[in-house]
Amino acid sequence: MKIECNRAWVFGDSIDTDVLAPNAYMMKPVEELARHCLEAVDPEFASSVRLGDAFVAGENLGIGSSREQAPQALMLLGIRVLLAKSFARIFYRNALNLGLPALVCADVDRIRQGDALRVNPLAGTVENLTMRETLDCEPLPSHLMEMIADGGLLAHLKKKLRSGGNS
């Protein structure tokens, strides 16, 4: 499984769930909420990000609320992978449950805005095609790989329920 990303969007530390999924739009359908994703930090982000882009952040990505709309908004805007030095725990689980790979990468500082990336979550590598270098990231834990490969927790549960197995 390799994820080709046209462009990296680079943000700093402690990008919180309130800027990812602003309270003022939380009662709206998530597609509408997504249009306001990160507007308090970068008003151009939601209208500029494209399908197949990567989201790169520093420490503690997704600190704050349990709202699943935070990673879901990024996904709806086209983000295919999250790379960060560290993740807040609920956000991390939410992203993986939605089938959005979230990888811990200590060297994200070496990725610049707009770089093209090829990410291999199984091998734990991030190829920076623009900079022509390969960074290490932590491979996804084995117990989560199957779920991610199925497309997230719901798809995974569906498969299990269909096969008559116990979840």
């Binding site: 800027v19 309270n23 939380m26 503690n60 349990s66 699943e68 939410n94 939605l98 719901l154 979840s167």
Partner: protein
């Protein structure tokens, strides 16, 4: 082999003799709590997609608190779908607009020491004050729990926070947590449990203990927990079973121990836009505030309202710094009415609001307009959380919020007690 309190609860829920940090185990869920924002509105289509039923309606509690005071079509639709879903799935433990979920859950007697609980909200950590291991989860994860009754967890290591001595007058549990946010950082306890011990914690009421576990979320923790004692047992009307004493073993392994001296703690204030930007109140003494807010699961229990009333007794709030107070539950509002607390607050000029999450999530009176500066007894001051993206929120104890409302500037409440 010795285990911490959290490890014991996880081991019990996972049907194992023992567990150790780092191990991944599957736990049976004793209770699952949802609110209106992350609950049925989100999980209904997921369960439909799976064609699955709720594993045990008797282990599900729904408490609406986010959009209960709103009247826009979207909010009304969310409340409607919540109601209908609860009925369709035979969830009889459904509490509509009775207060904030983390407060109503123990008020209704759902929590018992030793329970393994999940909640669809990050402040689900609050239940740790009752000796429960309760974690916040997202909606898809909740759908998984609803159909299976199970969840996987990586057994967390435990940080022990040990408080010695008594808090000085005018200093509250909130000040302990704002101090810890600075000391540990808002990701300092990520994936870990924070267990609060020591004579300081033993001396605190349940209302105050709940602030410690509630704001463990602001340390990034998986949860916060306090070993049950006589105060807990009185609150949960349960007896401590000799077979399962819910406390850590002697010699249990703590990743880190943090000691603090409560006698020397000053009131703390966290500046925008993070709870970890905290400092003793003096550091912000000249900051002018436009509004003050006492509310949320963190800061509007009966003890919090009484702190404010004590400061406001015989005083008036500043004309240019309105104080809004939203009691955390209907029961609290009723108790505060009975014992004269509400009258004292209103006499000082405070405006009492309906119960609910309210301005803490930027809804209704007390939320902040463009460029406004607020001081609040809530837990989070992220950019735009309480209203306009250009607004700024300072976090403090109910004492400090009330004192600041009197002067219109951030004020040390010890001058007023």
């Amino acid at each position: 082999m010795s285990m911490t309190l959290s490890e014991k609860i996880i081991a019990r829920a996972a049907d194992k003799g023992r567990v150790q940090p780092g191990e991944i185990v599957t736990c049976r869920v004793d209770l699952a709590m949802m609110h209106d924002s992350s609950g049925p509105r989100r999980v209904k289509p997921m369960l439909e997609q799976l064609g699955a039923k709720v594993w045990d309606p008797g282990r599900v509690v729904i408490i609406t608190d986010h959009y209960v005071n709103e009247s826009d079509p979207e909010s009304l639709a969310i409340e409607d779908v919540t109601r209908k879903w609860a009925r369709a799935h035979h969830i009889s433990q459904f509490h509509e607009a009775q207060g904030i979920c983390h407060i109503v859950l123990p008020e209704c007697g759902y929590l018992r020491p030793g329970m393994f609980v999940v909640g669809g909200d990050s402040h689900s950590t609050t239940a740790g004050a009752f000796g429960c291991f309760m974690v916040g989860i997202g909606a898809t994860e909740m759908a998984g729990v609803l159909v299976s009754g199970e969840i996987w967890v990586r057994v967390p290591s435990t940080i022990q926070v040990r408080g010695l001595g008594r808090l000085p007058d005018g200093v509250a549990a909130k000040d302990i947590m704002l101090m810890l946010c600075r000391l540990i950082g808002i990701s300092g306890a990520n994936y870990k449990v924070v267990e609060y011990t020591g004579t300081t914690v033993e001396s605190l009421s349940m209302d105050e203990r709940m602030v410690l576990t509630n704001m463990s979320a602001e340390l990034g923790a998986k949860t916060g927990i306090i070993a049950p004692d006589e105060i807990t047992l009185a609150a949960t009307r349960s007896a401590l079973s000799a077979a399962t004493p819910w406390r850590g073993d002697d010699g249990a392994n703590y990743e880190r121990v943090i000691d603090f001296n409560a006698n020397e703690l000053a009131p703390q204030v966290a500046a925008p836009h993070s709870p970890e930007n905290s400092a003793p109140v003096d550091a912000h003494a000249d900051v002018k505030v436009d509004q003050a807010y006492i509310g949320a699961c963190t800061g509007a229990k009966l003890a919090d309202l009484k702190m404010a009333a004590r400061i406001l007794h015989g005083r008036k709030i500043a004309r240019d710094a309105p104080l809004f107070i939203a009691p955390a539950s209907l029961r609290i509002a009723e108790q505060a009415k009975q014992d004269g607390t509400l009258a004292a607050l209103e006499a000082a000029g405070a405006k009492i609001l309906p119960t609910g999450c309210g301005a803490c999530i930027g809804l209704g009176p007390g939320s902040l307009g463009e460029g406004k500066v607020g001081i609040a007894s809530t837990a989070r001051n992220f950019k735009g959380r309480m209203g306009a993206p250009t607004s700024r929120t300072y976090l403090a104890s109910p004492y400090t919020v009330a004192a600041s409302a009197v002067t219109g500037r951030i004020t040390d409440p010890r001058e007023f007690v």
